[in-house]
Subunit: 247 residues, 4 copies
Amino acid sequence: MDDIDIAYLTEDKVQADILIEGLPGIGQVGKLVVEHMIQELGAEKVVDIISIYLPPQVLIDPGGVVRLPANEIFLWKGDEIAIAFLIGDFQSTSNEGHYLLADAYLDIAEELGVKRVYTLGGFGVGHLVEEPRVLGAVTDEKLIEEVTGAGGAMTGDEPGGIVGAAGLLLGLAAERGMDGICLMGETPGYLVDPKSAGRVLAVLTRLLGIEIDPTRLSEHAAEMEKILARYEEMERGKEEESLNYIG
Amino acid sequence: MDDIDIAYLTEDKVQADILIEGLPGIGQVGKLVVEHMIQELGAEKVVDIISIYLPPQVLIDPGGVVRLPANEIFLWKGDEIAIAFLIGDFQSTSNEGHYLLADAYLDIAEELGVKRVYTLGGFGVGHLVEEPRVLGAVTDEKLIEEVTGAGGAMTGDEPGGIVGAAGLLLGLAAERGMDGICLMGETPGYLVDPKSAGRVLAVLTRLLGIEIDPTRLSEHAAEMEKILARYEEMERGKEEESLNYIG
Amino acid sequence: MDDIDIAYLTEDKVQADILIEGLPGIGQVGKLVVEHMIQELGAEKVVDIISIYLPPQVLIDPGGVVRLPANEIFLWKGDEIAIAFLIGDFQSTSNEGHYLLADAYLDIAEELGVKRVYTLGGFGVGHLVEEPRVLGAVTDEKLIEEVTGAGGAMTGDEPGGIVGAAGLLLGLAAERGMDGICLMGETPGYLVDPKSAGRVLAVLTRLLGIEIDPTRLSEHAAEMEKILARYEEMERGKEEESLNYIG
Amino acid sequence: MDDIDIAYLTEDKVQADILIEGLPGIGQVGKLVVEHMIQELGAEKVVDIISIYLPPQVLIDPGGVVRLPANEIFLWKGDEIAIAFLIGDFQSTSNEGHYLLADAYLDIAEELGVKRVYTLGGFGVGHLVEEPRVLGAVTDEKLIEEVTGAGGAMTGDEPGGIVGAAGLLLGLAAERGMDGICLMGETPGYLVDPKSAGRVLAVLTRLLGIEIDPTRLSEHAAEMEKILARYEEMERGKEEESLNYIG
């Protein structure tokens, strides 16, 4: 195998206008959005990527069939736009691997004819968020208006960086002359967060000018809310109990 | 030396139908099984592998003679099946090395004509197991029936992965069109476990259609049981003593 | 991208007599000095360096525009001396990367015609320093007199080493037959230290025979002093309060 | 620079019968022996090795002159034997680097015509040793008699390995058909140990059939004994004091 092994699964010429990245990360926000879009749009897998920079293991699917950790590209062709989705099991296990994988993804994107890259993620705030904002970061000032026009807030006030594929894909895309927009949903950081993912989906679909039924994501979010409510109730119960002991 | 240095120890053309991996791992289960098979069948060493991805040290054999850490391939030719065994001192010290070594093992396997890979290991459960099950994982659904028919249980219910050579050899074998079956004996995880190894051997030999005398492995297991029993007795003794102090 | 990607931003032939390095390090002393010099002299960026050995992330500039972590070379041409400045966001994330980046910087320096390298940094002492000394280290004995003549003290009494780019650039410059001088301002180590940077600037400009207005650096240092004074007052306040509790 | 940069410092043809390694390690035993031999014999430096696998820093020599961490080969030509000594500042910072450096050292050794490699080190026992033994390990059984004949004991009873250059040089030398002997002086492990170094020197010179005045090493050992004695006295003093407090 090569250090990064790229397998095209179709002999058809595949083309896409944009790439949307949703690899695992904070609150799994990006992954939830891209998984939802792939399901709702019925996108098809066209590229399979395995690499020595991914964890050295296999994953066991239900039933007991194993597979290598992989990152994958799915394709959906609408009437006005063709979208490539980048999704996968893991990010790189090494610093250098992060760069090399991001560069390989952009090689594929360029071959597909992609002109713009969206990267999705969570913005960890360390506490529950009632109304999570969607924070944007861009490769060029000219893109700011698009993001704010679609309901995103710019991250300029909060210093810092975007670590991993969501960041590097933007930075390396700019080097190649592609546009890049990162959308990050505010999220506690310690929970899988479909509510935050829903907000990111809303801003993203407005940016893309397509419609995607958010129902399944909303249902998932409602379930999480219930679980959290039950958990909080239990915690309150424990507290009262311990107060009773003292009293 | 090359990053991975492969030395064939014979000039005869070596060929094998299957490869069985038993590198060090949880409870040393895989290693115990393959060592036992090599001894019982009288398999011969045909390949020696040293690598910069193995620990940077030498091992001192009894008597004071040193040798580099190595992984080795042994060969046994039966009437109906020829088996290559992969065994060794260590697994890779780095994530990337795990991939590169597994890929090198499969290069050798392909050259030997191997069509199917078995990987053996322990499945750590964190406590003593009275009747350890043998859990199977496969590269293809069509192999499930073989495993269950030979007394293995499928791992599908327990999520997770198989880390290291036992996992990667399956995943990378599938990429090359080879079949792969992993057998994992349930084991505490903190003990060398010949009992678990005995169960894996039983399922494996049924799968292979060969017979191997398990006596030595059973004796080893019986010894371990005695040691554990003595240890438990001592622990109980201590407990009673400390109760006496209190009383 | 290459492992280290060097982009020249001008088609003019760029030349420099000396290279001054001020990458991030202890007390940010070197970075403060070089940033100050670039601003005061109006040096222009001529080279952009990105690399897989820098952290795998992007930085978000105010306003929300992202950029890859980069190291950069600025150029200033005076009447009698042309200076290349090396500045940047980060140092290497790996040991090997430190060597490979330093070697690449010196490739550029050689192409520019550089004959001497100055590296700047902080010398952490672990406590506040009223009158920070500037300690020098050199690639050749013949350079000692220059350093002490300009007000620097030699480090020979205090054993140890200089870690990272400030050290390696000297060591590798010597291998190429270039001269090298390292100037380190004493600094607590746990604070950004413009006062120490001011002292390094003073010694450095004397060595270079150029004048640079230190006002902005002095103002920055005065601000830091005020912040520290306020902080100490607060700490004393807390102490007295806690004494009152006890009393 | 290359990943491992080897510079020959003489244009004369250099040749050696044996290589003796004394890189930094447990108790600095090996380094003390080789430094002593180089000084007593007046060996001359013939090769300088720098590498990205050594720590990314420079060392500051007394007086303030810096130099890259290096490993070096010295040469001494006696009437009956020519010896190459390998000594240096550090061992590799990475596992892979250990292999690559050891392999490079043996490339040089082969070019010098070396037929046998001695590696020297400490054998950490975790406590002070009144009469430290010298433990031997060899690449071939036929060498055992030589070691025991010279006063060394074989390590065969104590299981384990030899980590780093002292081990790998033997293992990789054997792959090239060279003989190899490792001599390890018993040592606490937490102290620089010239006494243990003296014992290793004694066995080694008997093996080599040369004489080397051990006086300086003995003086160094006597000094260490005094320091230890004073330290123990102080510790006893503290103990008695604390007993007085209790009493």
